[in-house]
Amino acid sequence: MSPVRTSWRVVLVHTITFKQARQWVPVVLGIGALRGFTDGPWAVVAIAAGITVVSLATAVLAWWRFSYADGDTSVVVTRGLLSRSVRTVPLDRVRGVEVEAPLLHRLLGLVRVRVDAAAGAVQGADEELVVDGLPRAEADRLRAHLLARRTAPAADAPDLPAGPVEQELFRFDNRWLLYAPLVGSYLAVPLAAVGALFRLADELPRRWRPDLGRPDLTDTAVVAVAVAAVVLVLLVGSVVGSAVVNWRFRLTRRGGSLVAVRGLLTRRHTELEVDRIRGCAVTEGLGMRWVRAARATALVTGLGDAARRGQLLPLGPREQAWAVTGLLVEDPGPLRPHPPAARRRRLVRACAPGAVLLVAGAVLTATVGWWWLLPAGAVLAGLGVPLGLGRYAALGHVAGARSFSLRSGWLVREQVVLQRRAVVGWQVQQSFFQRRQGVATVVAAVGAGAGGYRALDIGAADAAPFAEAASGPWAATLTG
């Protein structure tokens, strides 16, 4: 197919968002700072108009110099204003196609297509090919063409229900948005927004800043109102933040793929190849555990930005997370607890900082008379006990017939369920102290997700048998 340009309407989008002109902003601001914005409002208008013209010009140039061509064996993207870059990606290297429609794109009937062509060693921006500004129909054609070579799911892959070609697995219930204030990452959304607002307020010229006066911090009512306002902003902000990302999340199966669609302003359309899924992770933060909420993520090989793209259930009841996981990986059975030595080690680790403070406090009390370190150390050491017990309670491992599972973590508890074929290697680690206590840490190296998952402090005698049961006969090399 001969090279084609994207839709001209993308020029509008890029002009408005300053996509290409953005890199000029620091320069303009620098010049402005040198001269000083003292020429009155007209200077500001002139600068704004100038930036818009530059933005329009660069957007037109970028659009004019960008073209793509999808052939039978590869897709070629040509771009660059002065130095031309031609990037060719063979179709069999295409690992996924994501179609996203930000708000402005939607108004103009356009979408952005991201082609995930992870080359393995290449990380970051080079990992994907972005074709910005296609009409929806053309994007659908391109996506179908790029993914046409996909094979049917392999036999030992998951027991997805056979059935119609397109089948909805579940859709997001908007009531689940109420879990958002208990999730750290969503709580961070309003905090980041407020932070940005304050930075902006700092940048504003003094005369434009509202004069609020100094709040009277001794007045209990003022403090109470302030605290209530902060809590309200956090609650509402996190719910809104989570709604923007997860609105009308829907997970469907289409042939050999899982398709996730989500988003309020930007609609995102992500496709995961079922055959590349090696397992699932179900994570529950401290707050989420109170309300039995969880999130589920697929662990997929060769997927760029896997933490976002692999999401199967961004937020929801624990039962739902496990239901989705059950569709993709066989349940290996209930977890086995780790030996008592593991509990002792967790307790020692958790109480050690407090104990050190306690000793230092005792010494200081005796020598210099600084008594306050002593109670601080005692409290910290005391808090270490529930922390250590909690961390121990999170530990568990089990190997089933076709899958295995590992769990750890207290602040964020994560349980991964992996297929046997996911394992590309084993590592058994034993420190000097672990050796004396008869435990070892076993790491399953996996070409997906975090790259490796640990079974912390399992009995030394269980290490090799667990590895063999969780992967295959080749792991018997560990026992000879």
């Binding site: 392999a154 055959d275 090989t301 060769g302 074929r421 590309v424 290697g425 084993w426 590592q427 058994v428 680690q429 034993q430 420190s431 000097f432 672990q434 050796r435 004396r436 206590q437 008869g438 070892a440 076993v442 790491v443 190296a445 996996v446 070409g447 790259g451 490796g452 030394a460 005698a461 290490a463 090799a464 590895a467 295959g472 006969p473 080749w474 792991a475 090399t477 560990l478 026992t479 000879g480």
Partner: protein, 163 residues
């Protein structure tokens, strides 16, 4: 004493590795000694610290030149079986690593400057996982080349694309 979590692989690295580790330890100790000398000359240290620091340097030298290389040599083991590459590394803490031949993606041989003086080379076997890398350090250069060739060849025959 508790039993080991995994058996020890069959083969040892080259004996020259002890010399190489000792040289590495000596270089580290030298840097430390220079640092401490600088401190003693330019800073008004309390007497007890001025005595303690050189003692610590001497202890570090004895450990890193005389003791650690031998301990390492006793721990470091490797083995290539029909199905897998298997190593044990470390000195106080120990790490066993096992990777099946079918999951090998790349085999690298590296020869550092000091390694060349001792006629040594290291083999690194890479998989799809960043944590699934096996390093076999300090083999005789010709052994390393042979092992790397053999592994790369066999990996090609049995490669399992579904990593």
């Amino acid at each position: 004493m508790h039993p080991d979590p995994a058996r020890s692989p069959a083969w040892t690295p080259s004996r020259n590795a002890i010399g190489l580790w000792a040289v590495e330890g000596a270089v580290g100790t030298l840097v430390l000694a220079l640092l401490v000398t600088g401190l003693e000359v330019f800073l008004p240290l309390p007497t007890w610290l001025a005595v303690l620091l050189p003692v610590l340097v001497v202890v570090e030298g004895v450990v890193s030149i005389g003791v650690r290389p031998r301990l390492r040599y006793r721990v470091h083991r490797w083995e290539v079986t029909a199905e897998a590459v298997y190593t044990r590394t470390g000195w106080l803490s120990r790490t066993w690593t096992l990777v099946p031949v079918s999951r090998i993606q790349t085999v690298d041989v590296t020869r550092g400057a000091v390694q060349q003086l001792f006629g040594l080379a290291s083999v690194a076997v890479l998989t799809a996982s960043s944590q699934g890398t096996v390093r076999i350090p300090h083999l005789d250069a010709d052994v390393a080349a042979r092992v790397a060739d053999d592994l790369a060849h066999r990996a090609e025959l049995v490669r399992d694309e579904a990593t």
